[in-house]
């Protein structure tokens, strides 16, 4: 009866939520964005260092539920070296993944662990929060993004 829950909270998600990767403030970042989920109090800050069109370094800080934290952590792992265009394509695929459970493309890699999120509509925004912050950072928006 906890099957759906094991889908949602896969071991990799729990691992990343407990020991998030790239969890630091980045000195010398040239892009930054805040993401907030006012409903549950999740808040993250994403730092990027971009050279031209390419994400050279990426990190985050913040607090939140296991899903949003793991999503931010796995996102930072997945994006180093990607171009702006690749980032946007990946965003679309992750968005489809967490809303439909279908892995829309073959770029998602490890991020496929978030497929279980689609069965929990209230939690989709937790998974997608860091991604919204990412797009805001890449587009150089300064206002905090919100999933509400």
């Amino acid at each position: 009866m906890f099957d759906d829950l094991h889908d949602l909270y896969q071991q990799m998600i729990l691992d990343h939520s407990r020991s998030p990767r790239n969890f630091r403030k980045m000195e010398g970042a040239n892009r930054r964005a805040d993401g907030r989920n006012p409903l549950c109090g999740d808040q993250i800050t994403l730092y990027l260092f971009m050279e031209g069109d390419v994400v050279k370094d990426i990190s985050f800080q913040g607090s939140g539920c296991a899903i949003s934290k793991a999503s931010a952590s796995l996102l930072t792992d997945a994006l180093k070296g990607k171009s702006r265009q690749e980032v946007k394509r990946l965003f679309d695929q992750v968005h489809e993944l967490v809303t439909t459970g279908k892995t829309g493309g073959d770029d998602v890699g490890k991020l496929a662990v978030f497929a279980g999120v689609h069965k929990f509509p209230a939690r989709v925004k937790c998974a997608i929060l860091p991604w919204h912050a990412l797009i805001a950072a890449i587009e150089g928006k300064v206002e905090p993004v919100s999933t509400e």
Binding site: M1, F2, Y9, Q11, P38, C40, G41, R123, C126
Partner: protein, 420 residues
């Protein structure tokens, strides 16, 4: 709030609480393969058949618009609507039905006072005294007002995790600049029951007007506005077995009389010219447009239903359930409990170490347990407590000890699940 009463408190088992569950159709369902345990009553309560039937009967027999019609159905609808107002006055012991304004709920009632009473009575530099445990609905309307008139918001501090107001320091806050004290009766995230009569008495001494947010108390304990001594009191129907979209603002008659209208439209006027209008009498002056007639009828039924059980009995049942839950939860390791140890209202707010409230609530839901996780519309309070969010189980008289047992078992499993 004790009027010395010769009547003994009812014994623990005086009421068959379990059989009352049969009055609530929504309680009897399977959620994610488990019998529903509804512990989100501070957000909204379930509705008894008695209230649902009152709504249905109104729409099937008496439905018409109020106050303007001459025909039979309009007369019936008007009578039902005004009977609900009289019942609400009786429910909180207001002196007259004219002191009852129907609103969409507590939030609109507070906004009405802030927007109508506020600008006429506040000057730049005046202070609005709130507490740190207020719901957003008793903060934001005052922020809007303060900005508009140049007044200042100040907040009575709470002690610590126990969530009690520090009354010894009240005089430091109750200065002559304070023109209104707006305070919650029962905290929706801590379960604190504030000594509202004492607070109103102290506020009155310095000439401040008082408003009580009774959203969490109206359906849970007897309310007597004369004994509390407040100028305004607000509550919502849906948190006390009534429909959503209907609530009450109580205001002392002379205050309501002196206040300008809140919204303009039909029903609130006496005469209308192209360029000028005169206002209807209180309370109709504050009810523009077709009101929520069926809502008032449903609220009437809810008040009757609650008083048949007895609000004193309900208050005692709340205490029993909260005390039982608190006792069971305090024996779990890795749990932080918020709010007072004793004398708490019917809810428990908590955090499990290493499990975010939102994750906990998701897993509990898979066990058919409806909890709430988040800031409970208390963001400043959460900041004050140094947490992002808490999980909350809030009870009503139809909840059972065995449901609390199942909830505690589920919590243990949840802790295990997240430590794997």
């Amino acid at each position: 709030m004790s009027l010395a009463s010769p009547i003994q408190e009812p014994k623990k088992s005086a009421i068959d609480w379990r059989s009352l569950r049969d009055d609530f159709p929504a309680l009897h369902q399977i959620v994610h393969g488990h019998p529903l345990i509804y512990f989100d009553n501070a957000a909204t309560t379930q509705k008894p058949r008695f209230v649902i039937e009152a709504l249905r009967s109104f729409y099937e027999r008496d439905n018409a618009n109020v106050h303007r019609g001459v025909h039979e159905l309009s007369n019936r609808a008007s009578a039902a609507y005004e009977a609900a107002r009289a019942r609400a006055a009786q429910f909180i012991r207001a002196k007259s039905a004219d002191e009852i304004v129907f609103t969409r709920g507590t939030t609109e009632a507070i906004n009405l006072v802030a927007q109508s009473w506020g600008p006429k009575n506040l000057r730049p530099g005046d202070r609005i005294l709130l507490t740190e445990m207020e719901h957003h609905s008793n903060i934001v309307p005052w922020q809007l007002l303060a900005e508009r008139v140049g007044a200042q918001l100040i907040f009575l501090p709470i002690s610590d995790d126990k969530g009690l107001l520090d009354l010894n320091r009240l005089d430091e806050w109750l200065t002559p600049q304070v023109k209104i004290l707006a305070i919650t009766h029962i905290s929706n995230s801590l379960g604190t029951v504030n000594p509202v009569a004492e607070l109103c008495r102290r506020a009155r001494r310095i000439g401040a007007v008082t408003l009580i947010d009774a959203a969490q108390s109206a359906g849970h304990c007897p309310l007597d506005v004369q004994e509390i001594g407040c100028d305004f009191l607000a509550f919502s129907g849906h948190k006390m077995c009534g429909p959503t979209g209907i609530g009450v603002l109580y205001g002392r008659h002379e205050l309501l009389e002196a206040m300008p209208p809140y919204q303009g439209g039909g029903d609130m006027i006496s005469t209308v010219d192209f360029h000028r209008s005169t206002w209807n009498r209180v309370p109709h002056k504050f009810e523009a447009g077709t009101p929520h007639i069926s809502g008032a009828v449903g609220l009437h039924a809810a008040m009757d239903y609650l008083d048949r059980i007895g609000r004193k009995n309900i208050a005692q049942r709340d205490h029993e359930l909260a005390a039982y839950a608190y006792e069971r939860l305090s024996r779990l390791s890795g749990l932080r409990l918020f709010g007072p140890h004793v004398g708490r209202a019917g809810l428990v707010s908590f955090l499990a170490a290493d499990v975010h409230a939102h994750d906990l609530v998701t897993v509990a839901d898979q066990r058919g347990i409806a909890l709430r996780g988040g800031h409970h519309c208390n963001q400043p309070l959460m900041k004050q407590l140094g947490v992002e969010a808490t999980a909350r189980a809030s009870f009503y008289f139809y909840n059972l000890e065995e449901e609390i047992d199942r909830f505690v078992d589920a919590l243990r499993e949840i802790q295990k699940f997240f430590s794997r």
